[in-house]
Symmetry: C2
Subunit: 250 residues, 2 copies
Amino acid sequence: MAEREVDRSISQTVKAQLALRDQILSGSLRPGERISELQAVETTGASRTPVRMALVRLEEEGLLEGIPSGGFMVKAFSERDISDSIELRGTLEGLAARFAAERGVSARELEPLKECLGAIDELLRQVPISVDAFSSYVTLNARFHAVLTELSRSPPLIRQIDRASALPFASPSGFVMAQSALPEAQQILIIGQEHHRVVIDAIENREGARAEAIMREHARLAVRNLRLALRNRTHLDLLPALALIKTATD
Amino acid sequence: MAEREVDRSISQTVKAQLALRDQILSGSLRPGERISELQAVETTGASRTPVRMALVRLEEEGLLEGIPSGGFMVKAFSERDISDSIELRGTLEGLAARFAAERGVSARELEPLKECLGAIDELLRQVPISVDAFSSYVTLNARFHAVLTELSRSPPLIRQIDRASALPFASPSGFVMAQSALPEAQQILIIGQEHHRVVIDAIENREGARAEAIMREHARLAVRNLRLALRNRTHLDLLPALALIKTATD
DNA sequence: TGTATTCGTTATGTATACAATAGCGGGGAG
DNA sequence: CTCCCCGCTATTGTATACATAACGAATACA
């Protein structure tokens, strides 16, 4: 009992899944590269069975791809894959916003959303925005999107949105990070915040179509800016997940 | 070597996954019921490791739910879950149609779609439609939706649509089957076919918004009719997947 | 010298053994 | 008679052993 040190608070499968996902997203594992189970066993500390379960989950998540002859490889994404994923999530979030608006949301339920809005307003007051403030923004923005998604009260939809967010840069924090290096970053943040304001207003007034439209526009903005940011890669080489994007233009 | 008869043409994992999915969808396993691994091993013929991989995949598919204390249970769906799933898929297919329209599709690529259209036209000519013809319709309709999805040329989107179709009644064939018992079945099929015709026209003329709108309307029609069909359950008790729907109104 | 075939090694798919936990039933006490 | 506690059993999570298939290298033959 002194020899084996096992953390019983978390399953080996989850541990392996987290570790491997981190390795993929951090670029330790190159896209197209075959993942060695044995190597994964060594780096994660779990044994083969939990590692395999983690690999299956990561494949379903979309980060890995099964190889016909056996095993898994890290998936590579084209720039279009990324922008499609963002638009996809925007469409889904639009549906969520519409559901929230049509089905009605109490003032109390809307409160967390307004809190995020106010907190971000506070952050955006400083020009230019500090690094710390930007970090807070990323958190608050992610929270805003998560809460909005929940307001749809539709488990299948929430589930799909979560899935769509699993791809690199497709999560609310993911693409904001990518845009941080742009000179127009602050303006983008301000516009995005305006979108947030409008969607709350639309939900409050039960304007489903308007709520949906603004969320889709929100995603369009993100797509446009991500494209822009990817043009000057020099500014954001620090982002590890960038390694997952195929450089060759299709 | 003579003793053990193993089919090498298909992996045990896939075999177990297919068998278990069939058991779930056919109602052999009741929703809320904990799935016994041992029992699954017996019914599928695979050993525990492949069975567990299959269970993980089915959980990711949305048919199973992990139990915190361990193991999996069959998920139960509310009527709203189902209709939301259909609308969800409709939204996704709308996006696919828009992508196809905006990005352009050659006449050659549109051919399979038109073939389905023509074949279905042929089927719908007979009144009332025969059981055989209806069965053909289900196949052709599924093919139409699959081809349309492919025309988006967006792997992430295609993937998501496939995922959304995994839930009971959310697939193109699934909800059509459910509606078959309705007296208005033939009219519904005719209207649906008109939708198909319009989406092809919209894609040909590169009218993205119109293509998207009609696919969403298509889903709305499906939702409405599924609701209707579920009202008179007596007509369609033959559908096994029905067991997965919670009877209690939320 | 190039190509093809064979052998060996390695990694994956599968099966099973082991360990730990959660649920359940029985027994005892209040 | 009821409630609580203890122990047992059954099932899951984990580890590992075994078999098989694929990939690579080396050698032999053309």
